[in-house]
């Protein structure tokens, strides 16, 4: 533990914390997208919708070996810890960098590689704000007009029938994928991977994964607005 703290004290260690927590959150984002696509699975009208059944599965998985909700809360705690570490390290790093240049340039010409890298901080804030709204919307139902616990598919369709809600969702998912584009590329450098063969695929890999995720997330509200999911 002392060694981990020594690592965390350096700026590189904080970057490592960001990379590792970011990787955990990326894993969640992929799993969540795959789960969402269950909304497109055909439903014969008998029994719960496949998306509802999947939600039920998440609540009960492992039962009776572990209590109901056990694994779900386990995951939630890991995710919450990852979000916490990611934000705390980001704020500490941002403060370090902000105080490193008290007086800026009169004439600024940006030489950075990508738009994504310049928008990491504000993009992260947008994503964090969206996550809070999203939990109130679809998990607790506080921000949902006709929330019914357990009826995930109905909640989703009714929620996205409001074009404003769907629009905000698309903007937030876009911000998330831009954030991931720079994040996925950065992880390799931060974690010290330097292999010419890996280097060649870093950019394309980050692009394919982030665009793939954007498409995977965006199709759901778009399908609701287009009347495909009812």
């Amino acid at each position: 533990m002392r060694r981990v703290i020594t690592l965390y004290r350096s700026s590189v260690g904080k970057k490592v914390a960001m990379a590792v927590s970011g990787l955990i959150l990326f894993g969640f984002v992929v799993g969540h997208m795959l789960g969402n696509l269950k909304a497109f699975e055909s439903h014969d009208g008998v029994g719960p919708h496949p998306l509802d059944a999947y939600a039920e599965f998440l609540r009960e998985v492992g039962y009776p070996l572990i209590p109901e909700y056990g694994l779900l809360w386990g995951f939630r705690i890991v995710l919450l810890a990852a979000v916490g570490i990611h934000i705390v390290a980001a704020v500490q790093l941002w403060r370090q960098s902000r105080s490193a240049r008290g007086k800026g340039y009169r004439k600024e010409t940006s030489q950075v590689f990508s738009y994504a890298s310049r928008t990491m901080r504000w993009g992260g804030v947008i994503v964090a704000a969206f996550v809070v709204y999203h939990l109130l919307h679809f998990t607790t139902g506080h921000a949902h007009p006709e929330f019914e616990y357990g009826n995930v598919y109905d909640n989703l369709v009714i929620g996205f029938q409001n074009p404003l809600v769907a629009g905000f969702y698309l903007v937030a998912v876009g911000a998330l994928c831009l954030h991931l584009y720079h994040g996925l590329w950065s992880i390799f450098s931060t974690l010290g991977v330097q292999n010419p063969r890996v280097d060649r695929i870093r950019r394309p890999l980050a692009a394919v994964l982030s665009i793939g995720l954007f498409v995977g997330y965006a199709v759901v509200p778009l399908a609701v607005l287009a009347g495909i999911l009812t």
Binding site: T6, L7, Q96, Y105, R106, T109, S117, S189, T190
Partner: protein
């Protein structure tokens, strides 16, 4: 060529500083950028003013002293050169040029365009060396070095410590400098003994000096007059992780 120059003037470290505008009429496209500043200084001196202070030494791109921001770009608009190698043919007649010192709190402005880069020296002192017995030089082939490693070490050793990486970095981070100074040793057999302590010491000093941290923008690599790659930063990160997680840093230099 006719040019309008806005030059940062600051009489000393405590002065607030301001831009001073100079209109130059007879600028030759074959002049170097420092020739232009010399020309401006001649005019200022003839008028009884204080000439613009700027650092320069070799005027051939190897000493690393002539760094300045030209229109917001470290060492000016051309790639892979220092300000002394920049020529006025890279500008258009009638251009306005903003000339500023490197901006980073770890590089305090001493006067006009001159900054104090001794924070770099302290990063090198914290590990950018190898401990060997001195004496007569060993035979060149006594320690075999694979060619690819020698090339990578040499590419890193091309760093002239000019500070353009810090100046260009949106975070004012000196990770490219630090990584290059660590890598030119860590690719060679002689650099292995103190490799992990070196990473610990140099990164700790980098942070203490008040530089920002690396967010992988890559602006440093674009700004570097020697084209040093950000890949070296990944190597330094790995060495630092290894050093802390294996406990090397506990008793070594620069630990906690």
């Amino acid at each position: 060529m006719k040019l309008t120059l806005h030059v940062w003037r600051q009489s000393g470290p405590r002065d607030e500083g301001r831009f001073e505008t100079h209109r130059m009429d007879d600028v030759s496209p074959s002049m170097s950028f420092l020739d232009l500043l010399d020309m401006v200084n001649e005019t200022i001196t003839l008028e009884g003013g204080e000439p613009i202070a700027f650092e320069h030494d070799c005027r051939e791109g190897i000493c690393g002293s002539c760094g300045m921001m030209v229109n917001g770009v470290a060492h000016g608009p051309d790639d892979l050169i220092t300000a002394c190698q920049l020529h006025m043919r890279s500008f258009e007649d009638g251009d306005e040029i903003w000339i500023e010192p490197w901006r980073a709190d770890a590089f305090p402005v001493m006067k006009d365009l001159v900054v104090d880069r001794s924070a770099f020296d302290r990063i090198v002192e914290a590990g950018g060396y190898i401990s060997v017995r001195t004496g007569s030089a060993p035979d060149a082939h006594a320690v075999p070095v694979p060619k690819p490693d020698a090339d990578r070490a040499f590419d890193a050793a091309a760093c002239i410590g000019c500070g353009a990486c810090v100046a260009a970095c949106p975070n004012a981070s000196a990770m490219l400098f630090t990584a290059a100074k660590a890598a030119h040793l860590s690719y060679l057999p002689q650099g292995q003994t103190e490799r992990l302590e070196r990473a610990m010491g140099m990164v700790a000093t980098h942070d203490e000096e008040g530089f920002g941290n690396c967010t992988n923008h890559g602006a440093c690599q674009v700004a570097c007059p020697k084209g040093i790659s950000v890949d070296y930063i990944a190597r330094l990160n790995r060495d630092l992780m290894k050093a802390t997680l294996t406990g090397v840093g506990m008793e070594g230099s620069g630990g906690d």
